[in-house]
Symmetry: C2
Subunit: 455 residues, 2 copies
């Protein structure tokens, strides 16, 4: 066997030709979305008012295992995919661990993250349906950037509601979106009814993801030829992101590598779900066993301290209800810098897998995350996004555990993106001014007490 | 012949094992560096006071064609190399041109540019010599970032003098360097004698590359176990950067592609020289013919409007003199945003090749450069650095010329880096507030009148 290279690249012809829909292999299917008015399962027709038709089909399909990737999307994928699966030789050496560490690096594109995988699919289906444009929200800005790029490629109008605190703290993110032709509005805004309502109730609020979602949904509904698109949480997003896991598995198979554990950071679940989907499938079909580990911030511990229940996906309560692990749609995460992980809920498929014990979860604190980020940057040369660094933290912890036990485990983790636009947070860490935020039991109980009542 | 993929990746085992020293194939060798005090050629001994010993050897060696790349450097290269040679299918389609466009993308590493190729080599030789640290200057910040990464990898102290205007405009660049453990000082500073002198003469100056070089050289000379390193201009840097051209050529050869022209942006010449070196070699040996095109900003037109003469490499006149195309070391480029191209001189090898007609040069204006940058970003998905976008501008112009003539030319250009830290400039362009700056003949004549007198 030849030495495993630093970077395993698939060839273009080895790229996946279909996405993998893990729901098809689940005995316990994720619970359906509910209409917030009737509390009945949302129909395709109801969903089509908000989402593109083909995306609604994908959202509701829990039985088709493989869904072909259209050629137009594959052509776009070829501009930045296949992404490398990297053997972290330098990190292994520095940690002096017998573990073998691999990471799937999704940051090598201008959006700086994996978000582009679903953005291009959603823009494609919107264009195919003859729409004029799409609306969305963005927090840290990675999804907004990805969608701007995708819309510019297909010549679609793109309107982004950006959480106000990020809009102000990350002017450069905003400019990247504008460079790709998107319009960017700080949320909450006076442009929407829900925005006005939230501003009236909470004057001076710096916004939240849940609130920006409400505004983007409303903005799509009042414009002819517009639909709303979402970069995480939904099952269609997990489907598109399965390209990450499929490539990872193909690269591992190419060198006969069998991982012991697969680690991903978890906000809404898009990257984690995409990365682990094919491995979950094998596990569910009894073909292999893996530890599958979700890593979330201690400041927003959805899986580890939340409740598995129906809840609103947004603050304005205009979206469907999803059954998921949640901290309550009214939960306001303290100002952690891992913006992309500050979401009160979790994708319903991953929630079901966690409830069934197929996947495990762990939460980590911010300062230890940045410690891992800095260590990784200095050794592996990539400046990781704070979100991604949650997975790095746990990968390093597991590798150090192997050092103690002498076990030669194979660790795979998802490096979802780069941190070029997160230097305010890095500066805080460099200056020793970073703090940890852990919500109290009382805060979580208070937010959970307001869950909607669904039998 | 199978279809050429979007991205041609070499395998790790196909990576160059030696750098190519184009001077070995030149009949007219570049002129030697001169001692500023005696105006005699600098000896190895004299240079060793400033530079690492092995780097001095490489600087003075104009006869060895191939210099082996040490394994330690190749291991580091493997973390981010081979870099892809990308077929710009989408750009070709959008321009509706019969031309075939390829670009060698060097931005897929945290320094955001090709600078890492030489930084790791220079850090390695410094470490091997047992030094404690190195000093350097940085303008736009790409070189400083690259050197910080390289020094952190080899556990060397790294002191960066950053042109003050960039230090203030690019706080995030500064933080990336700090994350990699470097100390960053705005230049001119009160830390050095030359800095104090410049500040006394020009109170409130926001600095220049030439001035930061003077400070970094002085800082190295007063510290035990320190040497000065430079990211461009020198022939050792061209040597290290030849890895770009060697990979490009190997990738083209793999698919039997013969380029008609090779285009690169030119500041000090490091990327351009590295990219074209192997092609220059073929041209000089009469094995092939190519158009080799240097693109410089109209605001700092070293090749197109400068003089081929001996000049100081720095403002403080502490560095050796080099024979090169120059606008005069006192030339102050107006505040163009392509920070990395704002240097009054040009590498001596490239200067000689230009004087001999082996290479041609063209200058382009800033607004047209950003127009090309935005177009490229929207079509090819990569947000290019302003410097790199100079090459994009000319590549697009040449492709459009092919459209008129119907010629199926093959165009290769160097995409040296990404623009994530240049969003202030993009914002200006997005807001329609960008201007062009072209120095007057009188300004250039004034600066050239102060060239040192060397017979």
């Amino acid at each position: 066997m030849e030495k495993i290279p630093y970077k395993i690249y698939l060839e273009e012809k080895e790229m996946p030709k279909a996405w993998y829909n893990v729901r098809a292999d689940m005995k316990n299917k994720p619970a359906p979305l509910l209409n917030p008015a009737t509390l009945q399962p949302m129909t395709a027709e109801e969903l089509s008012g908000v989402f593109c038709e083909e995306l609604v089909r994908q959202e509701l399909d829990d039985s088709t295992a493989y869904i072909p990737i259209p050629d137009e999307i594959r052509d776009f994928y070829k501009m930045y995919r296949p992404s490398p699966l990297v053997r972290a030789y330098c990190l292994e050496k520095k940690l002096d661990t017998p573990a073998r560490i691999y990471y799937k690096f999704e940051g090598n594109n201008t959006s700086g993250s994996h978000k582009l995988n679903s953005a291009i699919a959603q823009a494609y289906y919107a264009k195919k349906q003859g729409l004029r444009g799409v609306t969305t929200e963005t927090g840290a800005g990675q999804w907004g950037t990805a969608l701007s790029m995708a819309c510019s490629y297909f010549d679609l109008d793109c309107r982004v509601y950006m959480v106000k605190v990020s809009y102000e703290q990350k002017p450069f993110r905003r400019e990247v979106m504008r460079t790709y032709g998107a319009s960017v509005t700080p949320s909450p805004s006076m442009e929407t009814e829900v925005g006005k309502r939230i501003l009236a109730a909470h004057p001076g609020t710096t916004g939240s993801l849940g609130c920006a979602i409400s505004e983007a949904v409303e903005a799509a509904s009042v414009r002819e030829g517009y639909r709303y698109v979402l970069g995480s949480v939904l099952n269609q997003v997990l489907l598109h992101q399965s390209v990450i896991g499929l490539e990872t598995k193909a690269a591992l198979d190419k060198y006969d590598i069998r991982p012991d554990m697969i680690i991903g950071c978890a906000g809404g679940g898009s990257n984690l779900g995409g990365l682990i989907s094919p491995f979950v499938g094998e596990k569910l079909r009894g073909e292999a066993d893996y530890r599958l580990i979700a890593v979330e911030p201690a400041s927003c511990p959805t899986l580890t301290r939340g409740k598995y229940a129906y809840d609103f996906c947004d603050t304005g309560m205009v979206c469907p209800l999803a059954k998921m692990y949640t901290l309550g749609s009214g939960f306001i995460p303290s100002s952690s810098h891992a913006g992309g992980l500050r979401y009160h809920g979790m994708n319903s498929t991953l929630s079901q897998l966690y409830a069934d014990g197929v996947m495990e979860a762990v939460s980590v604190e911010q300062t230890s995350v940045f410690e891992a980020a800095q260590q990784f940057a200095r050794i592996e040369g990539i400046l990781p996004a704070p979100e991604s660094s949650h997975a790095i933290r746990v990968a390093i912890d597991e590798a150090l555990r192997c050092k103690e036990t002498g076990e030669e485990k194979t660790i795979v983790f998802g490096l979802t993106g780069t941190g070029y636009f997160d230097m305010v947070a890095y500066a805080k860490y460099n200056d020793g001014e970073m703090q940890d935020f852990i919500p109290s039991d009382a805060d979580i109980a208070a937010a959970l007490s307001k869950l909607p009542e669904v039998e």
